[in-house]
Each structure stands twice: as structure tokens, then as C-alpha cells.
């Protein structure tokens, strides 16, 4: 009996469906993720000596290319008239997405400079060292670590990790599907957990921070995932447009398997709140903020700067899209809740910051307060609200990067001197550096002629126009409280006597200098002539939405 091979196969009845991928529209993200993958290969195949340079060049080129791609897309009107949903409904390419992706690419590019800085610590065993542990897997202080230090090993993996995180962040605000949102969240979070653990100095603190971040992040992810499941149960789909359509009362067709749960408002409300919570965790809003100070303090300062600037941008982008595209029908439900979160964040962030004694923790609480300010713009639910939040994010991310870059420069023999008492009299010893830091602090405080003022003004005006006067009053009061501790640092730097044996300011390489300089320039330009950028954010303020009929 001859076996009939053909009986083992059967012909498909229909042509396979290949999703159409808009490669060009997705190019910024693809470039970054591709470079990250390439970076892993570099780790594997390029000799140890050449890795640093290769990774640096690769990262810089990738991020610059991604930024250029964003610009090209924006010039091609993908942000406005040509906006589309790419990747079979997974990713939106529209104004907010492009704006935030551009900001993210720039922030990451600048962060690469901070990551690559190798002149802060004196060379060990004749080799320059950076901020990251020589052999992160080794026991802190153990013989393996010492061996690695002596051998002059470098953890050049940080560059691909940064690229992966950036890639995730760039998808996060563009995700048009809850599953894509979740994956993006994990792609951006996991590298960050690892980066947090890599500090060369104070490794135990660094590892503790990483573990805490990971545990709490996983906890928050669980909430998010559970919320996604509930929303699926409610709408029978994970697509943004479909969920919005169900909420709006116009479901295309009913899924018989989900007939029992679909349209159940309890699922919607609980699920929505949980997804919201997952995003608020990333944003660092009260009461989901408690990881922020510990992680900001423990992580290597370049990582803190990157994380503080970029995560907030990405997470607020995702939050904006979720609220404006998926849940606009629930506006009257989430608005009061976010009111509460915004007020709590502004007040708690500002108040607790008053008694902080560590620069990095101080900036962490300040970032919590700033989350509250941005939420005020989010709550406005108006074109002005979106554009003001976008502008605020761009302004804030550069100020934050600059501030943390300055923190890396003030050092004593134990590494960075982050205790505030050591900053006394810094203005006399290094007037330029202290002056730039004062500029950043003034921007945080929202003093006119800095980007912070323009951002805060835009956000509060949008909130006031939308009728959220109470929020604005609380916001201004919180700004007043916050001004106290910002100015206190300035007073400390310029009007106190220097401590004997205080820290010294190292002369960094052009890498860090360019970061601080760029941040200062952006802070001033956005402060003195904000209108162009406000207009830009205004043009970028329209989300793309799939027509309900085609939504799956």
C-alpha cells in the first residue's frame, strides 16, 4: 500500500490574511527597536574594547534617525490630515503620538550622553569608568566584583537596554489596543528595572531600588492586566475604537460568547479604573507614587534622569489616549476621580518635599507634584488641555534631565554628594553650575522666563477655561508651597557658607556639558518664546480614532 502523502494535507479554503503593515509610519519605533536588537548582537560579537564606542555610536545614530523619522512623518502631515491607525489597528500614528515620540527620541538621545559619561569618577586601574557597575551580577563588594573592576569591565548593555525602554515608551502613547498597551508597558519597564540596579556606587541601595520598582511595577501591571480583562469582558474587544463604540452604545455586532457580560457597566467601571491605576502608577501620581522617591534615589543618576523624563512623557501620552479615545464616554465618571488624584499629587508632592534632605528625593517629590499639575491639563478635556499637557511634558522632561545631569557632577569621595547640606555654598565655589541648577529649580517652580512658567500657565489656563477653577486654585497654592523648597536650595547654594570638606564639582566631558547646556537652552527658549512650541503642541493635539463601523 503506497501511502498517499497528499491525504495528509488539505487545501485552505481561503487565502491567508496578511496584515498590512505601514512600515514607513511605524519607522521611528522600528528603528529604535531594531537598533536595540543590534545592540544585543554587538554585546555578543564585538570585542570588549570596541563595545563602548560601537554602542554609543549605534545608539546615537538610531535615536537621531528615529527623531528624523518623526520629523519626516510630521512634515508629511501624519500628525494631522494623514493620521492613521497602523499595524492592523494596533498603533496610532497621529499628532500626540508623533509629538511625544519626537520628545522621547530627543530625551533618550540626550540620556545616552549621560549614560556614556566617563569622566566623573577618577579612572580605576588606568581605565575610565562610568556610572554603572563593572559586573552587575556580582555580589556587591565581593571578590568577583573587584576582579571585574580590576579587569576594567564595562556594562555596555545599558545602551541596548535604554533603546529597548525607549522603544517601549514610543509605542506606549501610540498604542491603540489594550494588549499593545500592556506589551509596551512591559517593554519599557523591564529594561528600566534592570538599569536601576546597575549603579557603580552604593550598589545595595541601587539593587534595593530595583527590586522595589520591580515588585511594585509588577503589582501595578497585574492591576492593569486585570483591568484589561474586565474591559474585554465588557466590550468583547481589546481595540480602543471598539471599546469606545460599546461605551457609546453603538456596538457593531454582539459577540454571542460574551453576551452575558457585554455592556455590563460594573465591568466597565472597575476595569477602567484599574487600567487607569496602572497608568497612574507609571506617572507617579498619589497614591501610586511611593516607589518614586526610593527608586529615584537608588538608581544611577543618569538612569534616574532618563526615567524621570521619559517615563512620564510616555505614561502621560498613554493616559491621554486612553481617556480621550477609549473612555470619553465615561468622562463624568473619571473626571472627579482624577480631580482627587491631581489634588492629592500636587499637595502631597509639594508638602512632603519640604522636609527632604536628599537632592534626588527632593526632585522625586517634585516630579510627583508635577504629575498633579499635568493631570490638571489632562482633566480639562479640551484642545488646550491636550496641547498644554504636551507642552508641559516636553518642557518638564528637559528641565528634569538637566537637573539630574547637574546632580551627577557634584561629588565627594563617596560618589555623588546628594545630601542637601553638602550643597551649601556651592554657588560660591561653582557659580556657573549653581546658576544653571538655580535656573532649573526656577523652572520647576514655574518662575516666568523659564519653560516651567509657560507650561504651568498653559496647563492652569486650560483647566480654568474648562471650569476646573478649584483645581487651579489648589495648583497655584501647591506651586507656592513648592516654590519654598526650590528657593531654599537656591538660598542654600548662594547664601550659605561652604562646608569644609564639602563636595567638589568635577569637570565633565563634553557629553554632560552638552546635556546641561541643551537643557538650559531649551528651558530658556521655551520660557522666553513659548508660543511657537505651544502652537506646535496645539497642532499635534488631535487624536486619531478608528471609525466605529470598522472597529474590531
Amino acid at each position: 500500500m503506497s501511502s498517499d502523502v497528499s491525504s495528509l494535507v488539505t487545501l485552505a479554503q481561503t487565502e491567508p490574511v496578511f496584515p498590512e503593515i505601514q512600515w514607513a509610519a511605524l519607522s521611528p519605533t522600528l528603528i529604535v527597536l531594531g537598533a536595540a536588537t543590534l545592540g544585543i548582537l554587538v554585546e555578543a560579537f564585538v570585542p570588549r574594547r570596541a563595545r563602548y564606542a560601537t554602542q554609543l555610536v549605534l545608539s546615537v545614530l538610531a535615536l537621531a534617525a528615529a527623531f528624523s523619522a518623526v520629523i519626516v512623518l510630521a512634515v508629511g502631515d501624519y500628525g494631522t490630515s494623514e493620521a492613521l491607525i497602523a499595524g492592523a489597528g494596533a498603533i496610532a500614528v497621529d499628532g500626540p503620538a508623533l509629538f511625544l515620540q519626537g520628545v522621547l527620541a530627543l530625551v533618550a538621545l540626550v540620556s545616552v550622553f549621560l549614560f556614556a559619561e566617563r569622566r566623573l569618577d577618577p579612572a580605576e586601574h588606568g581605565r575610565p569608568v562610568d556610572s554603572f557597575a563593572a559586573q552587575p551580577a556580582a555580589l556587591p563588594g565581593g571578590p568577583a566584583e573587584q576582579q571585574a573592576v580590576r579587569a576594567g569591565w564595562m556594562t555596555t548593555d545599558v545602551f541596548p537596554l535604554l533603546l529597548f525602554a525607549t522603544g517601549g515608551m514610543m509605542i506606549f502613547p501610540a498604542a491603540n489596543d489594550l494588549l499593545v498597551l500592556f506589551i509596551a508597558l512591559e517593554v519599557l519597564s523591564l529594561p528600566l528595572y534592570m538599569l536601576c540596579a546597575l549603579a557603580r556606587r552604593r550598589r545595595l541601595l541601587s539593587q534595593e531600588a530595583a527590586v522595589k520598582y520591580f515588585l511594585l511595577g509588577a503589582f501595578a501591571s497585574a492591576f492593569l492586566l486585570f483591568g484589561i480583562a474586565l474591559l474585554y469582558g465588557y466590550a468583547g474587544s481589546l481595540g480602543y475604537a471598539r471599546i469606545a463604540a460599546v461605551i457609546g452604545g453603538t456596538p457593531p455586532e454582539l459577540d454571542p460568547a460574551l453576551a452575558a457580560t457585554m455592556g455590563n457597566d460594573a465591568l466597565l467601571l472597575i476595569g477602567g479604573a484599574m487600567v487607569l491605576m496602572g497608568l497612574l502608577f507609571k506617572v507617579g501620581a498619589v497614591p501610586f507614587h511611593m516607589w518614586t522617591p526610593d527608586v529615584y534615589q537608588g538608581a544611577p543618576t543618569p538612569v534616574t534622569g532618563f526615567m524621570a523624563a521619559a517615563t512620564k512623557v510616555a505614561a502621560f501620552g498613554a493616559l491621554l489616549r486612553l481617556l480621550y479615545v477609549v473612555l470619553p464616554g465615561l468622562r463624568w465618571d473619571w473626571e472627579p476621580v482624577l480631580w482627587g488624584v491631581a489634588i492629592l499629587s500636587m499637595v502631597a508632592g509639594a508638602v512632603i518635599a519640604i522636609t527632604q534632605t536628599d537632592v534626588k528625593r527632593l526632585l522625586a517629590y517634585s516630579s510627583i507634584a508635577h504629575s498633579g499639575f499635568i493631570l490638571a491639563g489632562v482633566i480639562a478635556v479640551s484642545p488646550d488641555g491636550v496641547s498644554s499637557a504636551l507642552f508641559y511634558l516636553a518642557a518638564y522632561s528637559f528641565v528634569t534631565l538637566g537637573a539630574f545631569a547637574v546632580v551627577t557632577l557634584v561629588r565627594d569621595p563617596q560618589g555623588e554628594a546628594t545630601h542637601l547640606s553638602k550643597w551649601a555654598g556651592l554657588g560660591r565655589r561653582s557659580p556657573l553650575l549653581a546658576g544653571v541648577f538655580a535656573l532649573f529649580l526656577l523652572a520647576f517652580a514655574g518662575i516666568p522666563l523659564t519653560s516651567g512658567f509657560a507650561g504651568k500657565f498653559a496647563v492652569f489656563r486650560a483647566a480654568a477655561d474648562a471650569g476646573a477653577m478649584g483645581l487651579v486654585v489648589v495648583g497655584v497654592a501647591a506651586s507656592a508651597i513648592a516654590a519654598f523648597f526650590y528657593v531654599r536650595v537656591i538660598v542654600l547654594m548662594f547664601f550659605s557658607d561652604p562646608q569644609p570638606g564639602g563636595p567638589s564639582v568635577v569637570i565633565p566631558s563634553p557629553l554632560t556639558v552638552s546635556v546641561v547646556g541643551l537643557a538650559a537652552v531649551v528651558t530658556l527658549v521655551l520660557g522666553i518664546a513659548p508660543q511657537y512650541f505651544l502652537d506646535l503642541a496645539g497642532q499635534a493635539g488631535v487624536f486619531v480614532q478608528q471609525a466605529a463601523a470598522t472597529a474590531r
Partner: protein, 633 residues
Amino acid sequence: MESLIGGLVAAPLLGAAVLLTGGRRLDRSGHWLGTALAGLSFVFAAVLFFDMLGKDAEERTLTSHLFSWVPVEGFQADVAFQLDQLSMTFVLLVTSVGSLIHLYSVGYMAHDERRRRFFGYLNLFMGAMLLLVLADNYLLLYVGWEGVGLASFLLIGFWQHKPSAATAAKKAFIVNRVGDVGLAIAIFLMFTTFGSFAFSAVLDEQVAAGAGQATLTGIGLMLLLAACGKSAQVPLQSWLGDAMEGPTPVSALIHAATMVTAGVYLVVRSADIFNLTPDAQLVVTIVGAASLLFGAFVACAKDDIKKSLAGSTMSQIGYMMLAAGLGPIGYVFAIMHLVTHGFFKAGLFLGAGSVMHAMNDEVDMRRYGALRRHMPVTFVTFGLAYLAIIGFPGLSGFFSKDEIIYAAFAKGGTQGWILGGVTLLGAALTAYYMTRMMLLTFFGEKRWQPDAAGREPHPHEAPRVMTIPMIVLAVGSVGAGAYFSLGERFAHWLEPVTGLGHEEAPLSHGMVSLAATAVMLIGVAGAWAQYGRRPVPLVAPAGRWVTRAARRDLLQDDFNHAVLVRPGNYLTRGLVYVDHKLVDGVVNGTAAAFGGLSGRLRRVQNGFARSYAVSMFGGAAVLVAATLLMRAV
């Protein structure tokens, strides 16, 4: 021609800028530079004047628009000049007398090491005053007004090492601020009422008549308040006497050419407003009359030659104010008296400076005496100015003052008689105190005393650079009045700007002149009886209460102290108390409360991941509950 107006103002301002920023290398030549630029300004003025004479009376106004200063929708302010007959008169007075005083100062300040700076300030003073009288709108006028205030502050306090000079400068500045506020309010009122502050828009009978009577009176009174500050009229007169702490040329400049004349200018310039508000006009005459007598009384009692002259200035400005308050009949004569007064008062001050120069800076007239032999030029020029100010027939003061007295009588009714009487009484007092000054200084016995360092005075004539200005001014004192009055030249000159009124007085011109001459002779005789016939005691006798009060400036400072300074101090102290206890208490309390809250809240951040997770869980629970609750509600 128009561009010359800009140069007129720019020359002294340029001098000020160069001298004040040029540094030490200008120390040796700076005073000549300053004087030359002042003179240049005078040359410009003269050219413009002769050009103006060549035109018809109605076409003499020149305007020059330099640039738009505040080009805002609905608020147009220009830097533009307007040169008409009134401005021209002031420009000539300011530049001519100013230049002479510059020249005089070259000698007077020869030994002062900060001479360059002094000339810078003098230039600034002149430039500001020119800006004031040439501005074509009230806002630019205000700039000049403040500039004059600043320059006077700097010059009165020029010898700042003396606490009395520093205090006097501060006093002048602060009292002037009160007036400045008046001017500012007047400008605000104009802008809200007329929508502009340009002379061309505001100073028009038709436009002004459109505003309510109360508004016009308000503007008029605020302008008067401003004028009182600059012109040292009651009730803002108290700074004038103390301002004598400045170097004598400064006193001459303030009293003759700049500063105190600014108030009269303001009132006459705003004639179109005052003409429509008889109430404000009446207040102007009352202020003028009160100042006239106030100043004269003070001048009678002072032994300090400069302070006596200061009182005299206040009194003479009072004449001008009174005349300006009379309306069109008085404007011309107010300005005419201002010009003649500019000559003889400058002459008197320069003469006084010359005497002080000769007497080791002694200012007490009781320590002078018999100086006519030692200082013949000073004696003659001072004497001519003296004859002019007391209204000796034929000299300048006679013509201008008689016209004011006549105009006062022409006011009519009881007011006319009262005002006429006051002006006549003032004339008598003027004759008295000036004769007293003359007798104490140049006649009688030598009563010279060694100065604080024990040096005996050796009086001598001043150098040529000082006497020449005195001689020129003396010529003006003698001839200006007659020249102006011949054929009512001055009246016709100013008429297109200020108008000219004719009223019949109950007394004829001749009668008024006769009466004025008579009271003048009475005043001279009184002074002669008291100081000419018998020896003068070196220390002033105690005197009666009137004399004592007059020596204390009629208690002006005591009054100000009791009414303004002390309540102000109490108010300040009260406010400071409230600030410390209440405001600071609230602020510090709030800060402490937040600090405490912060200290408590930060304990929540205990470092345990499990606590954080609980907080997150609680937060999530609240979030979900709140969302559900919102729906339920």
C-alpha cells in the same frame, strides 16, 4: 529750524551724560565743556528767537516730532516739542541765566574736587528744565518735571558730607514728590477725560468745556498741587529754605531760572483749563497771596542771607501765582514778573555768593557790614538788583510788580480789594527785608568775625569770571522791565498763547504806581530806622513772638512734624507691628504647619515595599470605589 529745538534740549543733556560718565580725565576741562554746551544751547535759543521774531504773531509756533514713545493702541505718547512764545520766553530765560550761572560756577567751584560732577548736574538741571518747557504733551512734561526734581536733589545735596545738606536734599525731594503725585493724578484725569494728554488735544477751550466742571476743577487743583511742590508755595513750601544747603550757584539756578518757575509755567500753560474753572483759579490766587505774605515774613526775620533770599523768592513766586490765578489779565504779567525776577534774583544770589566767598563762607548778615568799599562790583550789581526787586521806579521790578498789583485790584469787589491790599503789603515787606539785607551787608560798621578755624575774613572782589555774570544780570535787572513794558511789547508777544484781558480797576494805573512807590518807601524807611540809624547787635535780640515764629519759618516744620511726620511714624510703627505679629505670624504659622505636616507625611514613606503595595492597593480600591460611587450618584 525745527531740528534746532532738539539740539537745544540735547546739548545740556549730552553735557550731563559726558560729564557724569566721562571719568577723571574730564576733571580739568569738564567745567568748560559744561559751560560751553549751556552756551551752545543759548545760541540755539537765540537763533530760534530771532527766527520767531521774523514771523507773524500767529505763525510763530514750531513743532518738532522726534519719535513715538509709547505707540500703543489708544495710548499715544510722543517725544515731541512745541516751541511757542511762552516756551520761547522760558527757553531764553533758562539758557541765558543758566549759562551765566555756569560761568559763575567756574569761579565759585574752582576749589571743589567734585567740580566736574557739579557741572554735570547743572547741565542735567538745565536739560530737564528745557524738556519741561518744550514738551508738547503732559507726559513728556512730566519727564522733565521729574528730571528737574532729580537734578535739584543731586545739587542741593551736592555737599553730601554735610548731614544738613543730605537731609535738605531728601526733604526737597520728598516734598516735591507730593507735588509730583498731584501732576500724575492730573495727567491720569486728563487721559480718562480727554483720552489724550497732548497740549493740542487737551488745551482747547472747546474740548475742555466738554468735561464736567468738577473734573476740570479736580484737574486744576491737582495741577496746582504740582505747581506748589515745584514752586515752593504754601503748603509745600518747607523745602525751599533748607535747599540753601546747596552751593550758592545752585540756589541761583533754582530760584531764578529753573525749578521754582516750573510751577508758574505749568499753571500758565494750562490756562485753558484754569480759565474754565473759577474755583480752581480762586484757590490759585489764595495760594499765591498766602505764599506772598508767608515768604515775605520769613525773609524779614532771617539773619542768614541766603535763607532771607529764599523767603523772598517764595514771596515773589507768590506774586506770580496770584497773577496767574487772576486769569487772562494776569498770565502775561505773571510771566513778565517771572522773567524780571529771574534777572534780579539771580543777580542777588550771585552777589550773595560773592559776599560769602569773600567772607569765608559766612552767611550770617549780622557778621557782615561795610562791605561796599571792599567789593565795589558786587555792591553795585547787588544794589541794582535790590532796587529792581523793591520796585524802584524805572527798574524791572517796578513795571512787572505794578501790573500785578493793578490786576489784583481789577479782580473787583471784596476779593479785588483784599488781593490788592495783600500785594501792596507784600511790596512794603519786600522793601523792608531787602533794605535790611542791603544795610546789614554793605553799610554800617564792620562786624566781621573769625570763622570756625580762626581765620579773619579778608574781603576782596570776586574774580572776573564771577563778576561778569553779575554785571550782565544787573543790566537785565535794570532794563528788562522798561524794555518789556514799552508799548506793551511783552504783552503782545505772549498774547497769542495766553490771551490778554483788560479789566478796569477801581484805581487807575497811576494811582497804583503811586501807592506801590509809597509803601515801598515806607518799607525802606522802616528798615532804615531799625538797621541804618543804630548799631546792629551781633547776636539777634530775642524779639517778639512774631519774629521768633518767622525765624522758625512761621513754624512750618513744627506744623509738618506734628500733622504729618508724627502720625506717619505712628502709622508706620503700627503697620510694622501688624506685619511682624499678624502677617508674619500667619505666614510663619502656615509654613510651620506645612513643615509639620510634611514631617508627618514623610513617615508614611517607610521604605518597605509591602507598605507601598498596601498603599497602592488601598489607592486602587478607593479609585474603583469612587468610580462606582460616581455612577451610583
